[in-house]
């Protein structure tokens, strides 16, 4: 057993943190607090931050060098995700996390050269086009159709939960090239948003923000040359790309909760209740649960580092962090009182933690990217063989 990073990984980590010292001027929460910022300016901040990271070689850390990556392992990528928590999220996060692996493992040489560099640099921002109103947990029920039109295809249908696209340039889409073949009839297209037959609408979330959107296709052009893999391979590709990011958040989640816990502890110290044994028990449980989450994360990374591939075990981490996040936010509302309900820009709000947002945002964690129910189905069927 050895849960230490290698010397090289430690070196990577300290280099990264030196670089952040010099380059990260304001933390993301500071940007959020700044009343001068709006959704547009915040997006520009994300985009330019992505550019900086790209130049410094911090994007595609675990991708092959020849495709613009750094050729390191998922461990370095996980370290990066954990240590850049307070930095702005990159603009093309979904593109890089989901499309990247698809391009690397399933695209043609030409497609890789065309799309990867601009995606990494942020010059082209990508959004995801998998889910549909009637195809959420049951993704294979998707109905968006790709109708042959000469060499190419025309898209008809609707996608939802696309990371909101007014500032996106491209979308990668799963669409039906065969309505009768549930899995084999799905194809993976790359489609530019700036064209007739594409309409993008924001979806307002219960937090009041609009990070997600809907995309409506009515005869939009999907070029054959922009199909990833073969026609009918879309489902296979989509399922595999979802697995390439395993472990990338294994350190970031507990690190994020460390930050939240630190603010919670400071809060109960400030309001003088830290000596109450009920407060101590609640905080104690939250502390150790996060530490267990970190242990699971180290284990995932260690397994991958020693060549193993975590399969459905990833469901464990998803259920654990998303349901923990709910317990933590609810505890903060209980222990910090009214203050914890305040939005980040409100007078009296805590400066380091956006609890008012967190209390609502955590409700998405158990739903998005496979609900807790779906995760438990996966564990029961694939691991316990029930």
């Amino acid at each position: 057993m050895n849960l230490r990073f290698t010397k090289e990984q430690e070196q990577f980590r300290s280099d990264l943190n030196d670089w952040l010292q010099d380059n990260l001027v304001r933390s993301w929460i500071e940007e959020l607090r700044d009343p001068k910022n709006n959704e547009k300016t915040l997006f520009d901040i994300r985009r330019s931050w992505q550019g900086k990271l790209y130049e410094a070689g911090y994007l595609g850390i675990h991708w092959p060098r020849k495709w613009g990556g750094r050729g390191l392992s998922i461990v370095e990528h996980a370290i990066f995700m954990a240590d850049t928590l307070h930095a702005p999220p990159i603009a093309s996060r979904v593109g890089i996390n989901l499309l990247g692996p698809a391009l690397i493992h399933h695209a043609s040489e030409e497609q890789r050269r065309r799309f990867i560099p601009k995606m990494l640099s942020g010059e082209e921002v990508w959004c995801q086009g998998f889910s549909e109103p009637d195809a959420g947990s049951d993704l294979a029920a998707l109905r968006t159709r790709a109708i042959p039109d000469g060499e190419d295809f025309r898209l008809e249908g609707q996608k939802v939960w696309t990371t909101f696209g007014p500032w996106s340039d491209w979308i990668f889409v799963l669409a039906r090239t065969d309505p009768d073949d549930r899995y084999g009839g799905i194809t993976f297209f790359l489609v530019p948003l700036a064209q007739p037959g594409v309409e993008v609408r924001p979806i307002r979330q219960i937090t009041g923000e609009s990070e997600f959107g809907e995309v409506f296709f009515s005869g939009a052009l999907a070029k054959r040359e922009h199909i990833i893999g073969e026609i009918g391979e879309g489902w296979k590709i989509a399922m595999t790309v979802l697995s390439y990011e395993r472990g990338s958040m294994s350190l970031a989640h507990p690190a994020r909760f460390d930050h939240n816990l630190k603010d919670l502890v400071r809060g109960v110290q400030e309001n003088g209740t830290i000596k109450r044994s009920d407060v101590r028990e609640k905080v104690g449980r939250l502390l150790i649960e996060n530490e267990v989450m970190r242990a699971n994360g180290y284990r995932t990374l260690a397994t991958m580092a020693s060549g193993g591939a975590p399969g459905p075990e990833a469901s464990l981490e998803k259920v654990f962090w998303s349901e923990y996040a709910r317990r933590l936010a609810d505890a903060a509302l209980d222990l910090l009182g009214f203050q914890a309900q305040l939005q980040v820009r409100s007078p009296g709000a805590r400066q380091e933690m956006n609890w008012g947002h967190e209390a609502l945002w955590v409700r998405a964690g158990t739903i998005l990217a496979g609900t807790s129910e779906i995760q438990r189905n996966i564990i029961a069927k694939r691991i316990l063989k029930l």
């Binding site: 979330q205 009182g337 009214f338 309900q341 305040l342 947002h357 609502l360 409700r363 739903i367």
Partner: protein, 356 residues
Amino acid sequence: MQFELNEDNTLLKSSTREFLEKESPLEKVRTVTEETPEGFSRELYAQLAELGYLGLTLPESQGGAEVGPVGLAAVTHEMGRAALPGPVLDILLGGEVLSRLEGDTAANLLQEVMKGEKMVLLAHSETLTHPQEAPPAVHFSKGMIHGTKGPVAFGASADALLVTTPQGLVLVPRPGEGWNTVSLDTFDHTQRFVQILLDDPGELLSDRPIPQEVDLLGAVGAAGLLLGLMERSLELAVDYLKERQAFGRTIGSFQALQHRASDMWIKTESSRSAVYRAAWALEEQLEEAPFLVAAAKAFTGDAAGFVCGETIQLFGGVGFTWEYDPHIYFKRVKTLQQLYGSTRNQLELALQAKGI
């Protein structure tokens, strides 16, 4: 023994529902909470006054409807179902305080409150962090009140405040230039919390603290609101389970979701039993009433948090959208858990009521 409401309260409850379904459907609730600065409809509150809701529990001798705690619970139960925005319960409690005070000022003000001509709210809380021992933040001397109160729900809309001070209960009319407020923006967009910086003339109405009966009425009213909010949320969830399709079947046919819904129903029905029993005990002035009221508020607060949170979960992705309704009930509940005696405070009151 009989659990059903008596004729009067049955009528009161059904007429309240009809009124709110007609005058304050959820679309209207969305409009006033999302698009108006005050966060509630003055017109609707004028109607509530006209129909006697703002004097609901006050003695007939003072012009009230003299409805008891059971009727109050039945009414707030409906107001919760409708997710009625605004300080209706706070207005009622302000009236309850005024009705217990000597002197013409209080008596005349009370009449204006019931008529809806003046909105008088209690300003009690003085901390944004967790309640703890702290020096009083407000003082009254030589006819002037100084200090900061808050959070006060919908305080900016008040025509006068009943401010608790170490010197007693002080009436502070809205200054000509309006209140000096700081608005506190919480995750619950249906609320309008403010801090109020007081440096104004006031009138000492009483040197006694707010009577326990008022707190008990507040807790019963809040428990009724919570019951209504979770009851309606559960209805939305069950309807959705029956209509939403996945994997070729309605999701309501999945046992895991069936059991979740069963737990939500168990908590909702248990809350119903607890709320009306507590209200009845208070109405009958049974010795155990304070304990039962604390139990009802604490239990319904937790229960409603579970029910309305799981409704979002059962709706899946759309449950996280502003467009769908579950978040409205969830936010109101999360706010109410902390008000009218937070769950944690009610637990302590319950223990003390039992002499533990």
